[in-house]
Symmetry: C2
Subunit: 667 residues, 2 copies
């Protein structure tokens, strides 16, 4: 017989002692959600501690990630590769138990959480991925993909706007296998939430079309267990289980108060908690009966082995599908990817179209999608503007029970982006989503989370500059390209024509540990001729597009829409007898990773005059042209007017650029 | 008798013709909301076209700002300073009628809208400002501040997460004078919203504690009028009026379809619309009866003059209050502000404390708040961490009907920031709000909107680097200081000690056309000694803190927590015989605005070795130290560990900095 209280108290004491030892952390949440954790992980969660990557496991997301000791306790006690010594290293440098759960640091942590609301959004993405993957691979009697996604959320998650975006979406998309536990403890950092958060959460979620199970005592084993059973029976609605809990439960003097939220209880109170819980063990000493009762290894192995047997049979009957599923869940590309990209680029060269790069992007998608059944596209309600939908793609909609490979996310940029992270983390898909470049700002922290987690969703941003025109400064990016480049481990591409666009897509799709931001123009851009060498070097992020001498006098670096006009300036300059090198730099992020020798060839240190041209803030370019270089950019907000009027006004025409360069080299 | 249909059709035709002439714009929304606009502006809105800045006017916010021709039509037709020639210049360079309503461009436009959801958040801020200002200034029989705030919102606004944040808050705070019209037309850019937005909006808003008036036909004058009357009678709940409308109403072939959302109807359809509406006038020709019926000038003048008379009496009876109200609504500081700042700085010098700059910030608030009854503070649920609450401030809470001068915004960074913009735009307050620096990312576009609108709310960001410690990389800013600096017209301050903190607050509070981001440390920072000259130059953003020679060999620039360790390095270097200049650069934004001579003195071009030190990404510093300079920064994500371990690991100790500088100057 399982002694649930004992197991819950083991979580409490591990959490309390680890926080105390680190002298830093959040004991209140693990103490408050201990019973919910035990019941879910012990009685319901389908997982195999010996193989945290088993594709058909249930997904578990701790969206209120500050309570990280809850998941570390659960992982340790159920038998994952996380020893008591790891727990003792809570929040220490290089440990497997950092302050917040970090993806890639700890087996069994499905996503990095902490920035509130985003874990919930990841969970919605995972549940959506499960539903779509199941549809693509399951066959009668072979439910190869068939699992739940569970998330724990606190008041903070539900206050954040992103919770609205993704939960509204989840209700519309009938994500019946998503089950969320609301840790309704009435306390956030500023105190009792009634002073700033008095909404009726149950009614709100009913309005989203969710099943809401109300009035669960979060410390009552049977109520929790029953609620989960009810939740699992509903296949068409996501379920919100409203759990009334006491933060810091077990602490006689701090339970129910905000001061146990984010600080150690203090050694005195810890001893009082020990007595209160009747826990007669030293810190980090767990009685063997707890380990025995909590151990999920045997059951987990048995679950996976049943699945493995079924998959073996599935492999016989549906060999191609099985092979493809294996390929996709490990994020492998088709074998001949290099050749596919080369053929695509050749095709773009053959067509040599002068079109907007957003249109070139759609052409690239039409092409690459043929080879990638894992492509899962979408847009935050700008499909016709982003040109993110490719031919033969199927939009999720009510008529087909929201099955397909193209998602209208609605006007929900942050929700979409964090869902892309969740979809990628689930496995089986190459997800991308589009919006205007400006609205990358609404989603900013989700891009950072992708970069931090070393995952590779693709963010598509169109309407990349003042070239957007009449919609005006609220919609005209000026500083956004620069700020995206500042995110560590984010590949930012701003192609100048169809060829660079095909290359950028080819590389972004091939990434497995770096997300990409692909930035495209609204307006038409000239097709650029290149020789074989230039062509082969596009993938290095920056390359010599034109050069009329090994001994350079004027170096010009440009990106995107400014490459075409730089080319015109280049031609005039060489006609006037100058020695000029024109560099196209679609990706500073990728260029920066090249070897020093290559970089020095592309950007020769001894070029007397260095010029950078980009329709955006100038700051990032000092790195490449120095304090004495000329940077032709846009350092103020835009204006509402025709694009051509704006380029004229902001000095970004071939003529004005040439004038500025001539003035620069004369002085 | 007012012919409402005629007036509504005048809006339709003005909108259609202006979009057609510009060959760009969004006709669908103004056509769909024309009747609502007429009824509200003609029958209810308390405004005076002759004085768009009258403090007690009702506020009107077009949150679905793409429908800008609706407000331009209303402003033109009711008698504002916006002529038919201005309408003809819709979306053209330098016009008063840009693509989206832009604050400061057009009389009567209360805020810049377009980025969806933020207008609604501004409106919530305005309604809150009205409530708090009324409480501070109204006296029996003298309701000097007593107006409504109206907002139009579309599906997009309600999908955005920020709508959740601010509407949940508005319900909790009983903002009874906020009245929102939902343009429920079932269409967004991707098509019929039921495929991605099927939530029950009415139920959702009831869950927020709002009064919801359902089932209003948005083309039925009487129903709209009645709904507004009901809304105005409810003093304790914000009201959502659910208006069923047809997008593009009046266009036989495009009404109800997404293709009239964001594109001109086309000349053929325009002619059909003309016939359909029986509109026998040329484009931009409005019959005089329309002007006569719509004209709000006389009524507006009468409204304001009644108020002026009352205010004259109020001024007699409550002279000090009246004077202060006048001062505050024009964003004037107390007369002796310079002296106040100087005294504050002297006080900080006298105490010369080694404390965290977040604590110094709280001390500065304690000090400045005495002189500024308009200070309106708050935090996104991190009050105790941000240290944003000053002594004697009163937190809004249910016990006092949400009256006070300190706001617990809840975990709603974006909502808070856009509300700060709305509060500032309303007038009467100096609003600021705090969160961790990392979560500036959740709010990013609201900061940009403040900068774009040239308004001056203050954003307080604590826990400014890896110095945050154990909470780990999700909470440790690396690229955030750099990206904030990229926003045009944003003053970013990162003070190094108590003195710089007092100066930064003093300047931020004095700004009237530039928002400020004040960035503070979690950890203690040494108090820095300075001479009078250095002291007087802090306000220039960057200044010489130490220099041992007019002929500089090594230049070191540092900010915030890195100034103290640079000072240690400086002392060792000069002891070793080097000629060194140490620059503290709390604000690159402000420093960049100084004259060239000053900048060259602080950063001498001929310094042989230039070094920049900041615990963040290195990119922004090339501008100041060049391609050959040494930048000691953090170009990767942080880790979860003690702050001291992290500074050691990332090479940001005095010893390691000195090593790096020595290596640099030897090579």
């Amino acid at each position: 017989m399982t002694n649930y209280s004992l197991l819950a108290n083991a979580i409490r004491m591990l959490s309390v002692d680890a926080v105390e030892k680190a002298n830093s952390g959040h004991p209140g949440m693990p103490m408050g959600m201990a019973e919910i954790g035990v019941v879910l992980w012990k009685n319901h969660l389908k997982h195999n501690p010996a193989n945290p990557k088993w594709i058909n496991r249930d997904r578990f997301v701790l969206s209120n990630g500050h309570g990280s000791m809850l998941i570390y306790s659960l992982l340790h006690l159920t038998g994952y590769n996380l020893g008591i010594e790891d727990i003792k290293q809570f929040r220490q440098f290089g440990s497997k138990t950092p302050g917040h759960p970090e993806y890639g640091y700890t087996d069994g942590v499905e996503t990095t959480t902490g920035p509130l609301g985003q874990g919930l959004a990841n969970a919605v993405g995972m549940a959506l991925a499960e539903k779509l993957l199941a549809h693509q691979f399951n066959k009668p009697k072979f439910n190869m993909i068939d699992h739940h996604t569970y998330a724990f959320v606190g008041d903070g998650c539900l206050m954040e706007g992103i919770s609205h975006e993704v939960c509204s979406f989840a209700g519309t998309a009938n994500l019946g296998k998503l089950i969320v536990f609301y840790d309704d403890n009435g306390i956030s950092i500023d105190g009792e939430v009634k002073g700033w958060f008095s909404e009726d959460v149950a009614t709100r979620f009913k309005a989203y079309g969710w099943q809401v199970i109300e009035g669960i005592d979060g410390h009552n084993i049977e109520q929790i267990d029953n609620a989960i059973n009810v939740a699992k029976q509903n296949a068409t609605q996501p379920t919100m289980i409203m759990c009334k809990t006491t933060i810091g439960m077990g602490s006689p003097n701090k339970a129910g108060k905000e001061d146990c939220h984010g600080s150690p209880l203090g050694s005195k109170e810890v001893e009082i908690v020990r007595k209160e819980l009747g826990w007669n063990y030293e810190p980090f000493s767990i009685p063997s009966e707890v380990y025995q009762q909590f151990d999920c290894r045997e059951h987990g192995c048995s679950l996976e082995s049943t699945w493995n047997n079924l998959f073996a049979e599935y492999t016989k009957q549906f060999t191609d599908l099985a092979t493809d599923l294996k390929r996709r869940i490990t994020h492998q590309l088709p074998d001949n990817w290099q050749q596919i990209v080369q053929d695509g680029v050749s095709f773009a060269i053959k067509k040599h179209e002068t079109i907007a790069t957003r249109k070139a992007s759609q052409n690239a998608l039409d092409y690459y999608a043929q080879f990638l059944p894992e492509l899962l596209g979408g847009s935050a309600d700008l499909t016709g503007s982003n040109l993110t939908k490719w031919k033969d793609s199927i939009t999720l909609d009510p008529e087909n029970n929201f099955i397909g490979n193209y998602i209208s996310y609605g006007v929900r940029e942050f929700g979409m982006s964090a869902m892309l992270n969740g979809i990628y983390l689930h496995g089986g898909f190459k997800p991308f989503g589009g919006t205007f470049l400006m609205f990358s700002e609404y989603a900013r922290n989700a891009l950072r989370m992708a970069s931090l987690m070393k995952i590779a969703p693709i963010f598509v941003y169109t309407h990349d500059s003042i070239g957007l025109g009449e919609d005006g400064p609220t919609h005209q990016p000026v500083e956004q390209i620069a700020t995206l480049r500042m995110i560590p481990n984010m590949n930012v591409w701003r192609p100048c024509d169809t060829v660079e666009t095909y290359v950028a897509w080819g590389l972004a799709l091939a990434e497995s540990s770096t997300p990409s931001s692909l930035i495209f123009s609204r307006q038409n851009l000239d097709y650029i001729q290149r020789d074989e060498k230039s062509l082969s070097e596009i993938s290095r992020g920056g390359y010599i597009l034109r050069s009329n001498s090994p001994d350079i006098e004027i170096l010009i670096i440009a990106t995107g829409s400014e490459v075409g006009l730089s080319l015109l300036a280049y031609e005039t300059l060489i006609n006037n007898g100058h020695k000029v090198q024109l560099v196209s730099m679609p990706s500073t992020s990728v260029f920066d990773k090249q070897d020093v020798e290559y970089k020095r060839t592309v950007i020769p240190q001894n070029a007397k005059f260095k010029v950078a041209i980009e329709a955006g803030v100038s700051n990032p370019w000092y790195k490449y042209v120095g304090m004495d270089g000329l940077i032709i950019g846009v350092d103020t907000f835009g204006e509402s007017a025709k694009a051509s009027d704006l380029f004229e006004h902001f000095g970004l025409t071939a003529e004005k650029v040439l004038q500025k360069i001539n003035t620069f080299i004369r002085n």
